[in-house]
């Protein structure tokens, strides 16, 4: 174990054994080999300490010290059902995949799209090439990643969910990924795993929401450790939207690795409004030329919240374009972190990469740490990054006040306009409006607190 890691606490290492015992004979299934491997690699690697450069500003002790239970499948409260139904309304509930405490719930889910196949990994035939393919991909990821949370996720995931989008299939309406968490008397660790393969010239849009119930024993926490792997095929397009509104005690570590083939487009936006600690690990690998990548993020926080966005963009091939923009409003005692890295490899000539992070601090005790990084090995490139951190512009404030707005109204308008630059990139109108609505509500609570 390197000096940048700490040993896995015993209440974490025990979890794998507890899961294994509860699997009822499923432990000879091929996926279990990966669980085991993930667990072993994790033990060897350890959890990151703040001496680790990528975790310099985010201490996860609070997450590590909590004792978690592994969620049982099948139980859901009436209140949960209502909550899920109301989220489904966003897209009229046509295609939605529902996860309760990280476990896929087929009975609350529906997906009826031609050319889109949804499979739980355990349902794949044991010798099918598809299964081999998927297992290989997961194996490769957990072997090569330096992200211990992907290993943790794999070791504790009950059954990964696979989504195949066939060649040429274009789906306009967003597929909802509804994550709902509830617990009564114990803290929970959720480990959902989702693998999406979008084949040549296909197009899909995803809307992922995270929500947790608040009716529980106050001391209980939910730790959701998500892993998603997205393979964007030739000329394919995946649009991923995420809205996170967890309880103010909950933790989210969201790990997403996307890889892009020739001429593909990957778009991701994350709106982080809730949770105590959120850490987004977003990694995009460009496997072939002429790709287009967009990464957007917005966060609005107050109280003790801690929102950390880590992005890594690997420009390995020529003629690729990327754009990255993260904006946040920090109130209360909250902290924001942005650590974005753009790597342009030697072969990636004609790369055009842009990265920006802007933050508004609206409280004396808020804090922002920003680290936009460029690592460039090719000469014929255009790369730039920028970061600004500051308070609301007094001139803008004056202008609005001179038009008859009071301080609060003017402040609200400035903040909404500030974040709007990010969520206006969303093409789908209903998703854009939804994010706008949630942001406005959240900003109001920041103002009042």
């Amino acid at each position: 174990m390197s000096k940048y890691h700490i040993e896995i606490p015993s209440h974490f290492s025990e979890l794998f054994g507890r899961l294994e015992n509860s699997l009822n004979g499923q432990s000879d299934k091929p996926y279990h080999r990966l669980r085991k491997k993930g667990s072993e690699l994790l033990m060897k690697q350890g959890f990151p300490s703040t001496r680790n450069e990528d975790y310099k500003y985010t201490a996860l002790n609070r997450v590590f010290n909590e004792k978690y239970e592994i969620p049982e499948s099948g139980k859901i409260s009436a209140q949960g059902k209502t909550a899920i139904e109301s989220i489904k309304k966003i897209t009229q509930g046509e295609s939605s995949l529902c996860f309760v405490n990280g476990i896929y719930q087929a009975e609350f889910s529906s997906l009826n799209l031609e050319g889109v196949q949804l499979i739980q990994l355990s349902q794949l035939e044991e010798n099918s090439s598809k299964l081999r393919d998927v297992l290989e991909k997961i194996d490769e990821t957990i072997s090569h990643t330096d992200n211990p949370f992907i290993r943790l996720n794999t070791s504790l995931c009950r059954d990964p969910l696979l989504l195949f989008v066939e060649r040429g299939v274009k789906i306009d309406t967003p597929i909802q990924l509804i994550h709902y968490y509830e617990t009564e008397n114990s803290s929970l660790i959720a480990s959902p795993q989702l693998i999406i393969m979008a084949e040549e010239s296909s197009e899909i849009s995803l809307l992922e929401t995270h929500l947790s119930s608040s009716s529980r024993n106050n001391t209980c926490k939910v730790f959701s450790n998500v892993f998603q792997r997205m393979l964007v095929g030739k000329n394919a397009r995946i649009k991923h939207h995420k809205i996170q509104e967890l309880n103010k005690e909950d933790f989210l570590i969201h790990n997403l690795i996307a890889s892009q083939e020739k001429d593909s487009h990957f778009y991701a936006i994350t709106a982080d409004l809730g949770s105590r600690i959120t850490r987004n690990n977003l990694e995009v690998h460009l496997k072939d030329s002429n790709t287009w990548t967009e990464m957007f993020g917005l966060f609005a926080s107050n109280g003790q919240q801690h929102i950390d966005n880590q992005t890594f963009l690997d420009h390995a091939k020529p003629h690729c374009e990327s754009r990255e923009w993260y904006k946040g409003v920090l109130g209360g005692r909250s902290r924001g972190v942005f650590n974005g890295k753009v790597l342009v490899r030697q072969d990636a000539q004609k790369t055009n990469a842009f990265q920006q992070n802007n933050t508004l601090l609206i409280s004396d005790n808020a804090r922002m740490d920003s680290k936009p990084q460029l690592e460039i090995y090719a000469d014929d490139v255009k790369c730039s990054h920028g970061a600004t951190i500051g308070y609301m512009d007094s001139e803008v404030m004056f202008y609005l006040k001179s038009r008859g707005l009071d301080e609060q109204q003017a402040g609200e308008l400035i903040k909404i306009a500030f974040l709007a630059e990010v969520f206006e990139s969303v093409e789908n109108e209903s998703i854009r409006n939804l994010i706008a609505e949630k942001v406005i509500v959240k900003l109001r609570t920041i103002y009042e607190s």
Binding site: L374, I376, D379, H385, G386, A387, T388, I389, G390, Y391
Partner: protein, 481 residues
């Protein structure tokens, strides 16, 4: 563009101009580092006991520390026991005028192109020339003395102004600050000391030339500048080292202490031996430079042109403690062949209404790696702090790397921090425009690169700016892909 590629090839082959050794008899101590060596250095310099203890404590601290490994550098392991920690020219009688100095030494300076004599006098520059650890001659001391300015070698200051040295040494860069600062504190050989009294505006640019001369001697100089209230000084530092195959370690410490309304301008041109075309040899330049703006409205400005050294690890910093104080950093870092540079600055805002500006221009060619690493920190009590950073990189050739790692840590809501960085190469359209106006590829590139660096050149004192421009041409001639 293939033409310019060829020109690049030709010019990157140009050899290091300052590579030679001068045969001056040296007074050396045996290789290696232990308590005895520290004591020996201290004894040779006839130091008071408190300084010896200070060194010994630093040595203890150093032993507990580990070499830093976070920089984006590939460093061959350094054997600290294989270095001679003290070397001084043997003829050490006091010199009253330059004529008494060793003719070999004067020749050395002449070959370096330092107009130490008449030209320098006319240029109005006081030079404290340091060759391998001992300050050989100090000019203009008298004139400065009349104003109450103390400008002398560090060892002299220890003898003559012990109370000042004792008060300020380690006050800006503490011994436990980092590995190389601790090492320097234990074994520092000599350096410059500069004290500007209250209300005095130093009438000339103070300048020191450092050279590492003897083979296998690390140079551990230490510079301390103290500027009292309402004073002003501009300090120049230039460096050259002869060509040698083994890597030479250079771990210097520079401390600047600026009081109320004092303004210290520190300019460096560094062209130490960068190693040969294959990356063999060259100087390891691991320097800790820091200025403390301790008072109200004090101001410190760092300007550096880094073209030499095999490896540069250097972050001239400003601690803006006084209200309304100001820190500036202007840098050009050029790397070619197999050079590596990890350099930048730290601006630490602690006082109210503090301001800082960072302008960094990196140019990488050949197989080199050029990294900007900088920190802007706005503390909780630093109300209305303002920072502006601009870090640009220029890439010449497709085997080099340019990296930007800014760290921005903001704890106060009234802060205004802006950072921007770009990386690109010389545009074909720019080149075409120049060449169709009749300029050769070579001249066109020089013109463009000079324009790119203008913002920093403008900050350099006149003579330095000319020298820096020349250096840039030598380092980069024709480098475009």
């Amino acid at each position: 563009m293939s033409d310019s590629m060829q020109t690049l090839e030709q010019h990157t082959k140009s050899e290091y101009k300052y590579g030679w050794t001068s045969d001056i008899e040296m007074d050396m101590i045996p290789k290696g580092l232990n308590e005895e060596v520290v004591k020996m250095i201290s004894a040779k310099k006839n130091e008071p006991e408190w300084l010896l203890n200070w060194r010994l404590e630093a040595f203890e601290i150093w032993k507990q520390m580990k070499e830093p490994d976070w920089a984006k550098l590939n460093i061959n392991p350094i054997d600290y026991q294989d270095i001679i920690y003290y070397a001084a020219p043997k003829k050490q009688k006091k010199l009253n005028s330059l004529d008494e100095a060793d003719p070999e030494l004067i020749k050395t300076f002449e070959r370096l192109g330092i107009p130490l004599q008449e030209q320098k006098v006319m240029a109005g520059v006081a030079v404290d020339a340091v060759i391998d650890s001992v300050s050989v001659t100090t000019t203009f001391k008298k004139k400065l003395g009349e104003l109450g300015i103390i400008f002398c070698s560090f060892s002299e200051a220890v003898q003559e102004h012990p109370e000042l040295v004792r008060e300020y040494i380690g006050s800006v860069v503490p011994r436990n600050d980092n590995y190389f600062a601790a090492l320097n504190s234990a074994v520092f050989s000599d350096g410059s000391f500069c004290y500007i009294p209250k209300g005095v505006r130093c009438p000339m640019e103070l300048s020191t030339y450092f050279r590492i001369n003897a083979a296998n001697t690390g140079q551990f100089e230490r510079t301390l500048i103290v500027a009292e209230d309402d004073s002003y000084v501009s300090y120049l530092e230039g460096c050259t080292a002869p060509m040698r195959d083994e890597n030479q370690l250079h771990a210097a410490v520079v401390e600047i202490y600026a009081k109320d309304r004092a303004f210290v301008k520190y300019s460096t041109v560094q062209n130490w031996y960068p190693g040969d075309k294959d990356g063999k040899g060259g100087v390891y330049n691991f320097v800790t430079k820091r200025g403390l703006c301790a008072g109200y409205q004090s101001r410190i400005s760092w300007t550096q042109v880094e073209t030499g050294s095999a490896i540069t690890w250097k972050y001239p910093s400003c601690v803006l403690k006084g209200d309304h104080s100001k820190g500036e950093f202007y840098s050009i870092a050029v790397t070619n062949n197999h050079q590596q540079a990890d350099t930048g600055t730290k601006m630490i805002h602690l006082g109210k209404n503090t301001k800082s500006t960072i302008i960094s221009k990196g140019i990488s060619a050949g197989f080199s790696h050029n990294t900007y690493r900088g920190l802007v920190k706005i503390g909780k009590k630093a109300t209305n702090a303002h920072n502006f950073s601009e870090c640009d990189s220029l890439l010449m050739g497709d085997r080099c790397g340019a990296h930007t790692f800014p760290y921005i840590e903001i704890e106060n809501q009234t802060a205004k921090v802006e950072h921007e960085a770009t990386t690109s190469k010389i545009g074909a359209d720019q080149l075409f425009y120049c060449t169709q106006r009749g300029l050769s590829d070579e001249d066109a590139i020089n013109l463009i690169v000079n324009g790119y660096c203008k913002e920093v050149f403008n900050e350099l004192p006149m003579e330095f700016a000319v020298e820096a421009q020349k250096l840039l041409e030598i380092s980069l001639e024709g480098s475009v892909g």
